[in-house]
């Protein structure tokens, strides 16, 4: 139980990779990448947790609190989340355009660029 958030984040990364190498639908691949992003975000945030800490906000903070959670990983994760959204949007746009041309989303059939 001790390191469960770290382990879970790595499991999420693994699930995402598994999706990527077993599934063939392009949108499913985007979903796999989203899952990996979720895992990485969880990893970053749980790095900054301090036992018994409170959120790093001074507004109406409970007066008796001892410690605050580390704020840096949260800032990094914010950036990573927005980057993930940008990536997802662009990949889905690509998928839609590819569907427009080929009429399919099967990655086994979208292999004009090979050899």
């Amino acid at each position: 139980m001790g390191n469960m958030p770290f382990v879970v984040s790595m499991i999420l990364v693994m699930v995402g990779f598994l999706t990527l190498i077993t599934r063939r639908n392009l949108i499913k691949l985007a979903i796999g990448i989203s899952i990996i992003e979720m895992g990485v975000n969880l990893f970053l945030v749980s790095l900054g947790y301090v036992k018994g800490g409170i959120a790093p906000i001074y507004t109406y903070a409970p007066p008796g609190a001892k410690e605050m959670v580390f704020p840096t990983p949260q800032a990094l994760t914010l950036t990573a989340i927005v980057i993930g959204l940008a990536t997802t949007a662009l990949m889905l746009a690509f998928a839609v355009v590819i569907y427009r041309h080929r009429g399919t989303l099967d990655a086994e059939k979208i292999r004009e660029l090979r050899g």
């Binding site: 409170i54 959120a55 906000i57 109406y60 903070a61 409970p62």
Partner: protein, 88 residues
């Protein structure tokens, strides 16, 4: 006036209920079933967030629950609109 622990326990119970809804999400024979499960999870999580914000003694955390109550609605609407064949 120390009821924080009670809030924590109630939140834990609600998270336990999410498991049950997750079972419906897993098993649901049709897509609307899954969407209903998602809707239920949304409501439960909003309640959990409000309770936990109180349990932690931090007022500012409740804002997250408001955001969630507002935005889960939008995801539900998109699913419903998809189901009825719109968004073409």
């Amino acid at each position: 006036m120390i009821a924080e622990f009670g809030f924590l326990v109630a939140a834990a119970v609600l998270v336990g209920y999410v498991f049950v809804s997750m079972g419906r999400l897993m098993a649901g024979p049709t897509t609307p079933d899954r969407a209903v499960a998602l809707d239920t999870i949304n409501t439960l999580v909003v309640a959990t967030m409000v309770l936990l914000g109180t349990a932690f003694g931090q007022v500012v955390l409740v804002d997250v629950a408001i955001v969630y109550a507002l935005l889960s609605f939008i995801a539900t609407l998109y699913i419903a609109r998809y189901l009825e064949g719109g968004l073409r």
